[in-house]
Subunit: 457 residues, 2 copies
Amino acid sequence: MPTNDLHDFFYPGTVALIGATDKPTKPGRAVLENLASFKGTVFPVNPKHTELFGRRCYATVKDIPGKIDLAIVVVPSTFAEQVMGELRDKGVRRVILVSAGFAEAGEEGARLQQRIRETARQYGIRVIGPNALGVFNSDNGLDSFFVSRERVSRPGAGMLSIIAQSGAITVILMEALARDGIGIAKAINYGNRLDVDDADALDYFADDPKTGAVAVYLESVADGTKFLQAAKRFASKKPLVIWKAGKHTLGAIAVSSHTATLAGRYGLYQAAIRQSGAVEAYGFDHMIDAVKAVALMDYPCTGNRLLIVTNGGGMAVAAADQAEQEGFIMPRTPEAARDRLRQAFPPFFVTNNPIDLTGSGKDEDYYTAIKEALPHYDAAVIILLMGATTVTERVTEIVARACHEVKKPVACCMLQGLGYTREAMSTLLKLRIPVYPSPERAVRALAVLRKTSCRRT
Amino acid sequence: MPTNDLHDFFYPGTVALIGATDKPTKPGRAVLENLASFKGTVFPVNPKHTELFGRRCYATVKDIPGKIDLAIVVVPSTFAEQVMGELRDKGVRRVILVSAGFAEAGEEGARLQQRIRETARQYGIRVIGPNALGVFNSDNGLDSFFVSRERVSRPGAGMLSIIAQSGAITVILMEALARDGIGIAKAINYGNRLDVDDADALDYFADDPKTGAVAVYLESVADGTKFLQAAKRFASKKPLVIWKAGKHTLGAIAVSSHTATLAGRYGLYQAAIRQSGAVEAYGFDHMIDAVKAVALMDYPCTGNRLLIVTNGGGMAVAAADQAEQEGFIMPRTPEAARDRLRQAFPPFFVTNNPIDLTGSGKDEDYYTAIKEALPHYDAAVIILLMGATTVTERVTEIVARACHEVKKPVACCMLQGLGYTREAMSTLLKLRIPVYPSPERAVRALAVLRKTSCRRT
C-alpha cells in the first residue's frame, strides 16, 4: 500500500459521518462531537434528521454536495453492506468502519466482513476496521473515536504515534498520556483489520514528519513478513516499542474472541521484535512506562552504568534489585566526586552509589548529588520521597535543572499519592522529567530508553 | 522476647520526646506535632525551651515528674550515649531511637551502635532503631514518625499491620493505603535493628487482636531460625505477605549502606517464605497490590478458575496473559449461563469467558454478567473502562453489589486517570472492591489472595 493511501485517512478535506445522531450514549453522537475539533468539513448523515447541533444533516451520502474524502461509518453492522454500496456509488475511497458485529461476533459476521472486503477490493476502497475506533490526528483535530472527551481526555500535540489492534488499549494509552501531559502525533486503531493493517500504519508513520516514535499494541499480525519488514524499516529511523498480547493459551483464546484472529506463537513474535530493532513491552504497565520514556527523555542512554539518588534507602534497594535484572551495573561513586559530596553533606548521608540523602536530605542536596555524580554515569534513577520534612515543593524544579544541566537521561520515582505528590509529579512532567510510581518501573523505563538509544547511535 | 515487651512500645501511658523542637523541617518538630493525636501524656524534652506549642518542655529527662513508659529520641547520634545514660537513670525501659548516624554511616557509627546495644542489654532497656521511624498505632494515636501529616497522610483504623526495615517503604505503604482509604492497625519500622527485630514484631502481631494480617518489608533478618519460627506461627493464624529486597548483588550492596546488614542469599529467603506459609511480594507494586488484596477482599479465593468481564477486549487479553502466568485457568462460561447471557445481550457481545461487553456495554450488563457467570468461578477480574459512553458513574455501585451478592473475590481494573475515573475508583474502594490500575496487577492481586486463602482453609 502506498503510504499516501493512509495519508488520506489522516488528512481528509471532507468527512461524512454515516450514523450521526444526537442520542446520548450512541457512538454516532460521540464521534460527531469529537469531530468539532476537525479543521475540515464534516457532513452528518442520518435519514431521521435534517439538522444536528447546528450542522445540516443529510438523509444519505448521495445527497451530500461535492467530494467526500473520508467516510466514518457507525451504523449497526446489518446496514454496513448497504452503506458500503452507497459510498462506492458516491466515489468515496476511504472508509473507517467503526461498527462492531463482524468477524469478532461469529460466523455470520465473518461472512459479512468477507463480503465487504471483496466490495472494497473490487472498487479500490481502503477500509480501516471494522470493530475499530479509527484515527486520531493532533495535527488537524481529526478524531473518529466514539469515546467522549469528557470521559477520555485527548493528549495535546507530541511526537509519539500509537498503532493498536485494541480500541480499549488505544484509548487507555491516550488517557494515560493526557494525564501526564505528554502529547501525541497520531493514533490508529484498526480492529478486525479487514484491509488496513499494522504494517501499513508503520510504513506511513515511518515517513510521517510529525511522528518521532511509535508504540504498537498487537494481538496478531496480518502478514508476518510484511510486518517484520515495516518494523525493521521503522526502527532503523525512529524508536519503536511493541507489546505483543495474547502470549500463551489463555491469552490466545481471549484474542480469538476479541479481534477474531490467531494470536500465533509468542516465541516467533519475540524473535521478530528483537530482529526488527524494536523494544518489547511485556504488558500494560511496561507499555505505559516505555511510551513515557520514549516521549519524554531528551538524552540518549548510551551505556549501562546506573546511578541512584534517593532520600529513602529501601526504595534504592528495590531499584537496585530491578537494575540487576535489566542488565545495568552500579559502579561506586568515583573517589573525587565522593570527596566533594562528603564535604557538602552531613556525615550520615551515604555518598556511595546509591547516594542516600536520608530523611534529612534537602532540595539543594539533590542538586549537589546529581551535578557531582551523574556525569560519571549513563543514566540515573532519582527517588523523591516528598514525605521528608526537609524537602520542599521546589525540589522538583531543582532536580529537573540539575538533570538538564548534566544532559543524561533520568527517571524520577515518586509515589502516586495525594495532593502534595500529585502537584510535584505534574511539575516534573512539565519540565520533561518522566516520573514513575515505583522504583522498579523507573529502572525499567531507563532500560527501554537504553535499548532504543543503542539502536540509534 | 515476651510479647508484652513490644506491647509497651505500642501502648505506653506516658511518652517523652527527647529533642522536641519548634523548628520547621526538624524531625523533633514533626514527631511532636504527630504526637498530638496520642491518647496519653507527652513530655517534650529540650534544654533550649521551657514551652513548646502550649506544652511544658523539660530541660532533661530527669526533670519530668513521674514514670516514663516510652522515650522517643530524635537528637543527633553524637548525643545518643548521653541521652541513653539519662534514660537509664530515669528508669525508662522502652526507647525508640529515631536518630541516624549509626552502623549505616560507617565504622564509627557501628561502634557507637554497639556501645548503646551493650548499655541497653545491661539495663534491660528495649530499643527500636536506631535510624528508624519507630511505631504507629491507629488504636491510640501513637505516632513517632518524623514525617508530617501534611506530607504523608495517615490511614485510618484497619486490620493490616506493617513491619518494615525501611522507613521510606513504611511511609510509602501507609500513604498508598491512606490514598485508597484502607486502614491499618499498627506499623513498626525498626531501622538498624539494634535490639527489637522482625521476628519480635511478628510474634507480637500474631497475638494482637487488632491485627488481622501483616505486610513485611525485609532487607535481611537478624536471626534466620527465629524469623522462620515467628513467620510460621504468624502465617498459621493470619495472612502474611513478605517482600524481600536486596535480592542479588546490586541490591545487596544497596542494603549494606542502607541498614548496615547483610542481605543474604535470596534463594534461602524464598525457601523460608514458602516454607512459612507466607506469600512473597516480588517488588514495590506487587507489595502494594498484595496488601490491598489482603486488606479489602472479603471472600476467600478457594480455587484457580478465573472469570474475566470487560468492556474492552485488549484489556482482557492482557489479563488472560497474566492469568496463565499466575496458574489460573479460564474455563468457558457454562452453557446454561451462556444461554441466559445471549438472551440478555445484543448479539455482538462475547458471552464466553472473557465476557466482553464491548464499547456498548451498559451498567446493568455488568450486573447480569457477574450474577450469571461468577457463581461458576473462584474469582473474577472486572475491567471497567469508564471511557465508554454507555457506562455511567453508577456502574461502580452496580458492580460492587453484584460481587457482594455472589460472594466471590473480585479485583477491578480501571486506569488511574483524571477526574472521572478517580471518582469511580474511590467509590469502588469504599464499597470494599479493590481496584488496580492495570489488568496484570488485578490478576496478580487475586493470585496473592488465592495463596493466602489456600493456607487458611
